[in-house]
Amino acid sequence: MASRINSRLVPETGIADPARRDFLKAAAALTAGATLGSTGRAWAAADKKIRIGYISPKTGPFAPFAEADDFILDQVRKSLAGGLSVGGSKYEVEIIARDDQSSPDRQSNLAAELINKENVDLMLAQVSIGPAVSQQCELNGVPCISTMGPWQAWMFPMKGDPAKGFKNVFHFFWGIEDIAAVYLDIWKDADTNKVVGSVFSNDVPGNAMGDLKLGMPGAFAKAGYKIVDIGRFPVGADDFSTHIQAFKKEGVEIVTGLFNPPEWATFLNQSAQMGFKPKLCTIAKALLFPGGVAALGPRAEGMSTEIWWLPSYPFRSSLTGQTAAELAASYQETTKREWTQPIGVAHALFEAGVQALKASGDPKSPGKVVESLRKLKTDTVIGNLDFGASGIANVSKIRVVGGQWHVEAGGKPHLYITSNSTAPEIKAERKLELLKS
């Protein structure tokens, strides 16, 4: 019975399919080899080819982070079209991109496929949904660089130790401590009663960032702010009256937390309906994407948030030579869409990968690539990355500053840098303004 069910299920789940395709491919290759008699040369050429795997959530709920993928891949492929010279030899570079559909399981399977079937020499990944790719690479001894998630959310799920790190996998991004520092920087000159209402979502990032001792509220309390926190809200919540009631009662003037755009819009609407008028709202994630901010309409005016990358950053791409502003402009030109902050970070991921391959001397040797990554220092479009200097093994920090959205004439929101003491080389553009009541 079991075998009958199996034999019926296999073709539908597609497990048998790739194997069959493999066989067909192999058969085709054999025939081609036999007719052309050039198998020997084909093997030699394959050795001079670097394969880079790239996994990102191109579809699904995390898709906004990978929205610019096609554009960035196109740019990177063009800049590498002439091949890459490493250690005196020229290599052809192939980038194999895969969509994990915002699913950690699929991410893991794709990583295994890229490692075992495509034999990638280097893996690049966006790990906003979790570090499954890095886990696969660590196990299989494939060098990997990832980004797009706080380093804590990358290191701790893999049971890593910040002092020891990992053998093969690397990560660059900010950490929870950096965001807390930015928020404190945003609030430092504002005239408030220093009572902070904290609202975090009940998921992995929300629980990590919202931890009352180790997370952001802990850092705010240490800096002399009074924290009002009545607990997490469920992801997708469409009612916040419990939180708003408590904030009103405690006289909260600053609201902070981690929201998805729809949840934040609901919170704002209900606050207005219930007569709760904070002086500052400094929110992570929900205010990242212009699309989400535009959905708030005029209520977006004065919302503050962290900034990881803006077209006004004073840095250049090592791949294309473009400044941050030129990169954003060419994105808008090509795609007719608004630039977003992850563009710079995703671009820098490829910069870091290419620099590591160049510095390795032998890109086909995983050991050499890992070695070069461990001490990699490179200038990218988001600024300098330095994997040796962060104090956390295998991790490089990126710059974060604080900013505030202003709704321009015509209803288009624009993000201005207001607070830069965390990265003084990035200029502040405007002073922070309190929310109008």
Binding site: P61, P234, A237, P262, Q273, F289, G291
Partner: protein, 288 residues
């Protein structure tokens, strides 16, 4: 005391919206014996449709309803005639599977057309308006949306109980064979029923999207709340659906008082307990 009253009131207003989500499902279960898994996704489709009409015609959300309701009616009619009539009335599994597939297709089509960005319908100043009665603050938009939900449920109840349409609906639901004998063309009738269902979905979509921004993947959660409202109240009983929605809304908000992260969990818990106590739903007839 004030806080408890405020929570109760907010819960009732939220619950009325859940009941409106459930209305279409209640009708389709009651009349066609069909569970539409794509129900939640259709609410999202309605929201995108309204958003498109609003930006296309520069109209407000409620004006857009004048266009959206007929469009949704046509969409429902078309879907029933071309697709759903092929499976309705046979075993209950076929419509379940078909609409499950439809749900996946709809989510992906929406993502392809509108990207994964969240969108919202702007209610203008209305969204932020609120007033206070004896220290209890009430939002104007949630109140209006709750009143509209109750009115629509009432109207549907009247439609089913007191009109020729309702008479046919009850006849087809009770005994499709005999209804056909006395001249009810059930396939053609089902198309009209689905049109009506889709019209209620259109209204639910607008009220939902005015309250919360939406994205292509927001549908399944809407389905869950709709389904709970329908089952809790008793299959095919419209006032039961209203009551089911209200119970879930209130349970969610009082649950959030106990543990702020677990509001929906308490909604599900109440649903489960009620179902264990009365498997036929609070207002359902006991199985004979």
């Amino acid at each position: 005391m004030q806080i408890a009253a405020e929570t109760l009131l907010n819960g009732l207003m939220l619950g009325a919206l859940y009941a409106l989500f459930g209305l279409g499902l209640s009708l389709s279960v009651g009349v066609m014996r069909m569970i539409n898994i794509a129900h939640g996704d259709l609410i999202v489709v309605g929201a995108y449709l309204t958003s498109a009409v609003m930006s296309g015609a520069g109209a407000g959300a409620f004006t857009a309803l004048l266009v959206v309701i007929p469009m949704m009616f046509a969409l429902g009619w078309l879907l029933q005639v071309t697709l759903l009539n092929r499976v309705v009335g046979r075993d209950p599994l076929a419509p379940l599977l078909l609409t499950f597939g439809l749900s996946i297709v709809l989510q992906n089509v929406l993502q392809e057309m509108f990207s994964a960005d969240t969108r919202s319908l702007q209610a203008g100043d209305l969204a932020g308006l609120g007033f206070s009665v004896a220290g209890v603050s009430i939002g104007v938009l949630p109140l209006l949306s709750a009143l509209a939900s109750v009115a629509l449920l009432g109207a549907t109840h009247w439609l089913v109980g007191h009109t020729h349409f309702g008479c046919q609906a009850r006849a087809v639901s009770d005994d499709p064979g005999t209804a056909r004998l006395v001249g009810v063309n059930d396939r053609r009738f089902f198309a009209i029923v689905t049109g009506v269902i889709f019209s209620t979905i259109g209204v639910a979509a607008v009220l939902y999207a005015l309250r919360t921004p939406f994205s292509p993947t927001a549908g399944p959660e809407r389905l869950l709340y709709s389904f709970e409202a329908v089952v809790l109240g008793g299959l095919g009983n419209i006032w039961g659906t209203l009551f089911g929605g209200l119970v879930i809304g209130v349970a969610q908000l009082f649950g959030a008082k106990i543990a702020s992260g677990l509001g929906p969990f308490f909604g599900h818990l109440v649903f489960l307990v009620a179902l264990l106590a009365r498997p036929q739903g609070l207002f359902g007839k006991a199985a004979s």
